[in-house]
Subunit: 136 residues, 2 copies
DNA sequence: ATTCGTTATGTTATGTCATAACACATCCCG
DNA sequence: CGGGATGTGTTATGACATAACATAACGAAT
């Protein structure tokens, strides 16, 4: 566990197990990968994972990557706040960088406002090569 | 068919059928919905739809909405060009507005450049209420 | 016109991701 | 104690996507 989210509303055993698996991975994981990682802890069925993920996402501890059907632990201290986080996904090594740039979020909010679109949430995912993989 | 994509590399029969279904819909459609819509034309299996969709996406005629697992016809004349299109999805009526705002795309490219991230593609999807549904 | 590579198609089976429905347990508060 | 809210376990099912193989259509080169 990194230092990012040490403090938090008490997690249940299942939620904590799922979070730790995600946080210990350096790439996004599918729900079924998490399930397999936790069979030794007694997990048997997908719902045990999905229900934990649902809560962890509500707490802002975990994000879903829509373009991968996979999940990552949040890398920011308080992500429930910044609702317009984005993700840069390396197609070679699988690593994901989460960013929360006001320079990117603001024009999106502006566009929505001008269109009369009531913004409830956003998915911003970039695909490409991270710096390490570009140079390698 | 709108006037948007009248000119184009010849589509095969399957590609043309799939495109017409998407273009005639005012909301995104799943691959299996398209399949059902085309059973009368002889479609029997998901791959017939997925293969057509793959080509249509390569031509820039169709986009995939990752957050919905669904597909829409492009609403721009030449979408193979602008690689950073975004979509505003109304959670009430299902309508999707495609936008290609330089104000939004530019800061994303700038961020990638500064990070050393080689941008290959992007997913930008907004959820919320469209103007009509907000007022209703 | 025949050959041959490329692209499209048809079909079956399988893989991957996600949720419905029901039962039982636990916790917290009044 | 009672009773609602939340968490859990389990089985079954639904929704989305692709692997693998066979056949057909097309187009350019000989
Ligand atoms: Zn975050
Ligand atoms: Zn990389
Ligand atoms: Zn487009
Ligand atoms: Zn609407």
């Amino acid at each position: 566990m990194t230092a990012a989210h040490v403090h938090h509303p008490d997690l249940t055993r299942n939620q904590s197990l799922v979070y730790d698996v995600l946080n210990g991975s350096d790439a996004p994981l599918s729900a079924y990968s998490i399930l397999d990682a936790l069979r030794g802890e007694g997990f048997r069925a997908p719902l045990q994972v999905y229900r934990a993920l649902e809560k962890l996402r509500a707490y802002g501890l975990v994000h879903r990557l829509e373009s991968l059907n996979a999940f990552v632990a949040c890398s920011h201290p308080d992500c429930a706040g910044h609702e317009t986080a984005g993700f840069a996904i390396c197609e070679k090594c699988g690593k994901v960088s989460e960013f929360a740039e006001e320079r990117i979020a603001a024009p999106i909010r502006d566009w929505a406002k001008a269109e009369g679109f009531v913004l409830a949430g956003s998915t911003i995912e970039l695909r490409g090569l991270c710096r390490d993989c570009r140079e390698g």
